[in-house]
Amino acid sequence: MSLQEIIGIVFIFIGVFFSAIGTLGVIRLPDVYTRLHASGKVSTLGLVGLLAGTAVLMPQTTIKMLVLALFMVITAPVASHAIASAAYHLGIKPKAQRDDLAHRRGTPTPVVNGE
């Protein structure tokens, strides 16, 4: 195993590790909004680790890896934001205490311990 392979394998396992943690988060977290944090980890950290490992292991694909990594890092938050706003429009109340968008909808903001 040459040094290049070892570095590539380490990057790939970092990516797989974050994907596993993100997927575990998607399973265990209570509602859509917190789960979006977890799925964001998968699509940015998980994939960027995998792509970095692939770029190290196969140097001829480095440009494609950069394109794919840049594309994923830009579009993943936009997709998560779209899902979150869709969930809010569907009327899913976040389990967290604060509802910062409530004033726009006219619903009373739940006053929690005098906030």
Binding site: I9, I27, K64, A82, I83, A86
Partner: protein, 91 residues
């Protein structure tokens, strides 16, 4: 690539494939549309990772283009469905 590296790559590939099961569980058990849409988004992201790993295992740099195409399509699809859910129309 040496055998040990190939073995490690295949192990990483199997782990990513196994990770798709909980994501599929989230799609089936989703209470409302947003949770199911988020499960689909997660599945496609994992699929992109699997395609990139396949490109490594098969040692062909052409397979990565499939991953780039899937990334583009999955993003457009997710945003279109999310917009349809929130506003009832896409365009």
């Amino acid at each position: 690539m040496s055998d040990a590296a190939n073995l490690a790559l295949q192990f990483a590939l199997y782990v990513m494939i196994l990770l798709m099961l909980p994501a599929a569980y989230r799609v089936f058990r989703g209470i409302n549309h947003a949770e199911r849409l988020q499960g689909i988004d997660l599945i496609t992201t994992l699929l992109i990772g699997i395609i990139v790993l396949l490109a490594l295992v098969l040692n062909s740099s052409f397979v990565v283009d499939i991953g780039i195409a899937l990334a583009a399509f999955s993003f457009v699809g997710t945003v279109a469905i999310a917009r349809y859910l929130s506003e009832g129309r896409v365009f």
